[in-house]
């Protein structure tokens, strides 16, 4: 062993140029591999934090009538079908040991109507029980102005990003009730116009839902302005509203309606297959926007229902307990939900988040392909260089074989050379990569691009390397070393003693 190592080491020094070429390739490869792994892990964590932990959980339940699984951003698609069976769904979910928590929400698009503008804006609404929402997603946003609504309070939380967009297009700056414009929070455009800002502390929202005859325009008081922890350009479109007001707005049955015994025929309207959304945008539909006369105010005195869960929802978000088998959980859920006749199906988060989930998969795939490409190039160059080295040393190797060195000795010599180079340069590359992964988050490299934010794993570039990740890279490097050494080793062990003998 020592003999092989000595010879291998001295051969490295003897062929400094070649060693350096291989070394640099190994260094670069290991460095990029480490960095790539870091970015992938950071991204995985970022997705987990941003989408799963912060927005929609691991699994979403949607109506079986729902055509598209994508429920995150579906401006032009069909609206999300109502779910009226939450009372049946809840016990099924509660019985699953792999479910950590779940939250039923209303989720659909609404028009934002404003007296000062003829064209309506749009906002995505999430209708929630504010207290329950906080429990499910504890820190996915901060209230930067105003306050978090009290339990049962009927109000609107307006996202900072959507506020900026609204200002850009409609010149209205939303502020919480009783509050003024906070200079530090003004968007660039609003700041330029700070002295003449038109402030508004309520918004008239008109629910958009296919399959329901009448949606209502409802004036919501803005209780607070929120900023999502990450991916503001995506999540920043979503306003949080009280579930009962949401149901009102969408023309769904509220829990209060249910308590007041809704006539049977009317009930049938709910849960109908989605009509086409185009009708919403048709001439007639637009006439609906006669909100100026009398937008329906949420009656403060309206009876608080005993159980909000009686009403209509669109989606149920589910968090799994850590380490739960994902596919098995999904399958079991779907089986149990079908058996219980709930009329809903469980879809994985990456399908439910539509293009974002898909994008994450694509980025992951691209990085994988990149690493594989890197591997192949590195292996090809190393194989070439080492095979040439083997051939150049044919006489020397043949002589060693003649005086009694076994094939294994020759193979060991080559593997040893590659292993030393790989350990030194590749190891160096991994260390450099780890340092880079550690240093990059400190630089707080930010991006406004939402897709990059997913890659970044948050609001700033935040690659992440676990010990397992590093070990994985070491393993990959070892694999590259062995693969790269196999062919040259075969060339070298194929050299016979006769090759050492020069005949004339």
């Amino acid at each position: 062993m020592k003999l092989i190592a000595t010879i291998a080491w001295r051969n490295i020094l003897r062929h400094k140029g070649k060693s350096l070429v291989i070394g640099i390739i190994l260094f670069t490869g290991a460095f990029l591999m480490t960095l790539g792994n870091g970015v992938i892990s950071g991204m995985a964590r970022g997705i987990e934090k941003n989408i799963i932990e912060g927005f929609m959980g691991d699994i979403a339940l949607i109506s079986t009538a729902q055509k598209s699984d994508n429920i995150l951003l579906n401006l032009m698609g069909a609206s999300i079908e109502p779910i009226n069976t939450y009372k049946k769904i809840k016990p099924v979910l509660a019985a699953q040991p792999f479910i950590k928590s779940f939250l039923p929400v209303g989720k659909n698009l609404s028009m934002v109507l404003d007296e000062r503008s003829d064209t309506p804006g749009f906002a995505y609404l999430i209708g929630v029980d504010f207290a329950e929402y906080r429990k499910m997603f504890p820190d996915n946003f901060t209230v930067i102005e105003g306050s978090y609504p009290a339990p049962g309070e009927r109000a609107l939380l307006f996202p900072d990003f959507a506020r900026g967009e609204f200002y850009r297009y409609y010149n209205v700056w939303f502020v919480p009730e009783g509050g003024g414009a906070v200079k530090a929070n003004l968007s660039k455009e609003a700041l330029a116009d700070a002295d003449h800002l038109i402030l508004s502390s309520s918004a008239v929202l008109l629910g958009m839902s296919s399959g329901i005859n009448t949606t209502n325009d409802i004036r919501f008081p803005v209780r607070g302005v929120i900023k999502y922890r990450a991916l503001n350009q995506i999540f920043g479109h979503f306003c949080l509203v009280d579930i009962e007001a949401y149901r009102d707005c969408l023309g769904y049955f509220t829990a209060a309606d249910m308590a007041a015994q809704v006539p049977k025929e009317e009930k049938k309207l709910l849960g109908l297959e989605g009509g086409d959304l185009d009708s919403m945008f048709g001439e007639e539909a637009m006439v609906v926007a006669d909100y100026k006369k009398a937008p329906k105010k949420i009656a403060a005195e309206k009876a608080v229902p005993s159980d909000t869960e009686d009403g209509t929802y669109n989606v149920v978000f589910i968090r799994l307990v850590p380490g739960a088998g994902y596919d098995a959980a999904l399958e079991k859920l779907n089986r149990d939900l079908a058996a219980a006749g709930t009329g809903v199906k469980a879809v994985p988060w990456n399908k439910a988040s539509g293009p974002i989930g898909g994008m994450a998969v694509i980025i992951k795939g691209a990085l994988f392909v990149f690493v594989m490409l890197l591997f192949s190039v590195a292996i090809i160059i190393i194989v070439n260089t080492l095979s040439m080295a083997a051939m150049e040393r044919a006489s020397e190797i043949g002589m060693m074989r003649a005086i009694g060195a076994h094939k294994t000795f020759i193979a060991g010599m080559f593997l040893g050379e590659t292993a030393i180079l790989s350990a030194a340069f590749g190891g160096g590359g991994i260390i450099a990569g780890v340092i880079a992964v550690r240093v990059i988050p400190l630089l707080r490299i930010t991006t406004a691009n939402d897709m990059l934010q997913i890659l970044y794993g948050g609001n700033y570039f935040n690659p992440l390397l676990s010990v397992t990740g590093i070990l994985l890279t070491v393993l990959q490097l070892a694999l590259v070393t062995v693969i790269a050494a196999v062919y040259p080793m075969r060339v070298a062990t194929g050299i016979t003693p006769l090759d050492a003998i020069s005949r004339d």
């Binding site: 020592k2 003999l3 000595t6 010879i7 001295r10 051969n11 020094l13 003897r14 006489s395 020397e396 043949g398 002589m399 060693m400 074989r401 003649a402 005086i403 009694g404 060195a405 076994h406 094939k407 000795f409 016979t496 003693p497 006769l498 050492a500 003998i501 020069s502 005949r503 004339d504």
Partner: protein, 228 residues
Amino acid sequence: MDIINIKELKKDYPLGDTIVPALRGVDLTVAQGDFMSIIGPSGSGKTTLLNIIGCIDPATSGSVQVGGREITDLTDRQITEIRLNKIGFIFQTFNLIPVLDVLENIEFPLLLMKRSPAEARKRAEQLVEEVGLKDYAVHRPSELSGGQRQRVAIARALVTKPDIVLADEPTANLDSVTGASILELMKKMNELENTTFIFSTHDANVLKYACRIVKIKDGLIEKEPVAA
């Protein structure tokens, strides 16, 4: 006792569509402790014969026994073991491992045999002295003259105390004075270590040293006039 026993040895080399018969039925026995020279014109089959005895080229037919063991029909592992344990080689060129110094080159076969490093070093030091290169013990081959390299090769060939040392024109690349000194050294070591030497040469000096001369021509051994 015969250390080598060759019967009806034939060796053909394919050359395109034809076959070159390099050895055409060689019978030869070599006694333990011989200092034997094979002479013959270029292309007569000297190298081929030595290579077959040295287990680095397989015979086409016939029988070759080295130290009483038939060497045709052995696996690569077995044949490598024989080369390591029973045979020492001195080649014309490319004798030494460039990255090892003189002592390391000499002890190399012992380390392949898994002898202890201390034992190997002791034996190598003894031999480096016997071949007169004590002062060059830590020099690399590239720092040595041709003659010095052959001295190292002789020491390395003898380090395992092999049954036979084979040398194919060991002096071919040396000037005549150096060549003579190498032959002299081989003879000395033959007496000192009682090792059988078989070597081919063109060197006229050989007659002075060899105790037995075998002439080969067109792949056949000419009748030996007298056994020495």
